[in-house]
Symmetry: C2
Subunit: 366 residues, 2 copies
């Protein structure tokens, strides 16, 4: 593995869209007791359900800490590869490399990771194990790695259509805990150069109380070039209403890198999901303080799905909109089977199915 | 990865000879401070020299502990793959899988490992990290693994010609610290069934003071079917003389699995190599006791070479026989370049170049 200090776009590399073909998918076996209730017992079962579906059409690699290797190996299917790798938490989307390709070669971008905000408003300390994972995953895959550790970015804060358009949120990328010394324009230019893009669409915000500073992958996602889904509520008393409306307004006025207007498909949100006292009790403390508060609203959204080669894996919350979300997505992904996974036990950790996955694009020669 | 409880030979699998083509080679980045002087500083340099040569013709994967990943990545070449894996020590020959193949598929045997003798006469405690490596390496390589953890064996205690003949030593395989409840015949039968062999040649012993209970790979090795090198001294006052002579006697009377007599090439030993007080001082204690004693004789032998695809990497000791050993080996390996590496800093750990490597056989479909 070479550690590269050049720029992907200048090397002829770009980030493919998630709906392009994958070689495989990376996840991390959950373990953090202050993120996942009951020693991550239920989260592991939920991760396994997600993995079982993805592994039907993709080679899945799961990173397990030394202490968890045997448990992961025992729980997961024979077609899943479990490899040893230390981590602070389990969000492959945000700590695994963002993969780029020139069509015949795979490379990974090793962004800086500081637990969604570092000492400003990060979610845990320290985060050094997580920050080292992207390079190690490139090494594992024999992919050269772009050294971008001086630029703080999580994979969940960007989406691309693979045709030059990048989608992100101002709430996250302009947050004080990431790259405060860079202007919006500098960040935009850097994104384009790293991801091989020509246009950045800045949504103002994401999902209410999303503790990632409102990652785009929880509110809006490409389903094909020129088409997106947007998390939506009709309840004007919900703080989310104004947030989703503001995003819709941007999308309605925007054109993508190829000059197309967006077809925006509204994906209803579940009714607010709040954490119970019993669930809170199952979470270990963080530095002597409770991790979550009973009644706290979680950032539930159906947009947090993963597009596998043959499936779309979409979170379910036991809500009346569960089926509606699946039906809308099934129409938008006619060549894939849309499958729901009850994901409350992932949501308690703060993210969802998209957040725990990272796709490896398919390369012709590989 | 499937965990198999069947028997390789019955599944049509066999262990290829080391001189058959390799897909790659596995090593472990040294770290153990009571095995390697000065925090393994010099050992790492010596390992790197070995790796640099092997990686000219094989894909090298180096397992580094979490704490050592960055150091290993920095030290080793770009064409070397560094992966994270905890270990107790650094002898890939003995803790990595013994790979077997049916010609189109690779599988690994996960023998039990107890640090060369367990509580009887093992060299350190605990050894659980080492014992878990074989399975994890199979997982990494997407190779199914034969569960043989109930049978204690190190890869350094066996050699094969790939044509049904297995070479081992009684001193090691019949030791009290390995499989004391099995008879010699039972062990022989088990070896044949696991390695796909038809005949086991039992050498009585190995190299004097070899703390592995005298692994075969330090005294005798196949250079081609029907031909072996045997570590030899002409000094009749050396305890090694009688040991090598006893092995020679067995080899002269034996026939291999195909009915051939052996051509035995005597490979001179270096003069006795003893550890200095300064070297001992560089070793951390083990449980409050010195690890080695100044003047202690080390099990130096030129037989402990590694056969790479295009090279043979042979230890050198600054001895007058260094060149002779290379010349003898060069004649026996006419299609490979025989290269010496000054290996005193590996020898201090107790083994040598063959001990720190484990080849992955080449499979047609891979």
């Amino acid at each position: 593995m070479r550690i590269l200090h050049t720029i992907p776009q200048e090397d002829g590399f770009r980030m493919p869209a998630e709906f392009e073909e994958h070689e495989g998918c990376i996840l991390i076996f959950p373990h953090r007791r202050d993120s996942w209730q009951n020693g991550a017992y239920a989260a592991r079962k939920a991760f396994k359900e997600v993995i079982d579906i993805i592994s039907l059409s993709e080679k899945v690699t799961v990173c397990a800490r030394y202490d968890d290797y045997d448990s992961a190996r025992f729980l997961l299917g024979e077609n899943v590869r479990v490899i040893e790798m230390e981590s602070d938490d389990s969000w492959a989307r945000d700590v695994a490399p963002t993969f780029v390709t020139n069509g015949s070669e795979l490379r990974g971008i090793d962004w800086g990771f500081n637990a969604w905000g570092g000492l400003e408003d990060g979610l845990y300390f320290p985060w050094d194990k997580d920050n080292k994972m992207a390079r190690k995953l490139c090494d594992l895959l024999d992919a050269d790695t772009y050294h971008q550790r001086d630029f703080i970015l999580e994979g969940g804060s960007i989406h691309t259509d693979g045709q030059g358009t990048i989608l992100t949120t101002e709430a996250c990328l302009l947050s004080a805990g990431r790259n405060p010394r860079m202007s919006k324009q500098e960040i935009e230019d850097h994104l384009k150069r790293c991801l091989g893009g020509e246009k950045v669409i800045w949504l103002p915000c994401g999902i209410y109380q999303d503790e990632t500073n409102e990652h785009v992958d929880n509110i809006c996602a490409f389903t094909s070039p020129g088409e997106v889904v947007l998390a939506w509520t009709e309840d004007k008393s919900d703080p989310q209403y104004a947030m989703s409306a503001a995003c819709l307004s941007v999308l309605q006025q925007a054109k993508d890198a190829r000059g197309r207007s967006f077809r925006v498909h509204l994906l209803p949100l579940p009714r607010p999901v709040t954490i119970t006292a019993e669930e809170c009790d199952g979470l270990d403390d963080m530095n002597g303080e409770p991790t979550r508060t009973p009644g706290e609203r979680l950032a539930a959204s159906y947009v947090n799905f993963y597009i596998a080669n043959h499936h779309v894996v979409c979170p379910q919350f036991g809500d009346e909109n569960d089926q509606t979300a699946l039906q809308i997505l099934q129409k938008l992904f006619p060549t894939r089977k849309v499958v729901g996974v009850y994901a409350r036990d992932i949501l308690i950790g703060g993210g969802n199915i998209h957040c725990i996955t990272q796709q490896i694009p398919k390369i012709q020669s590989r």
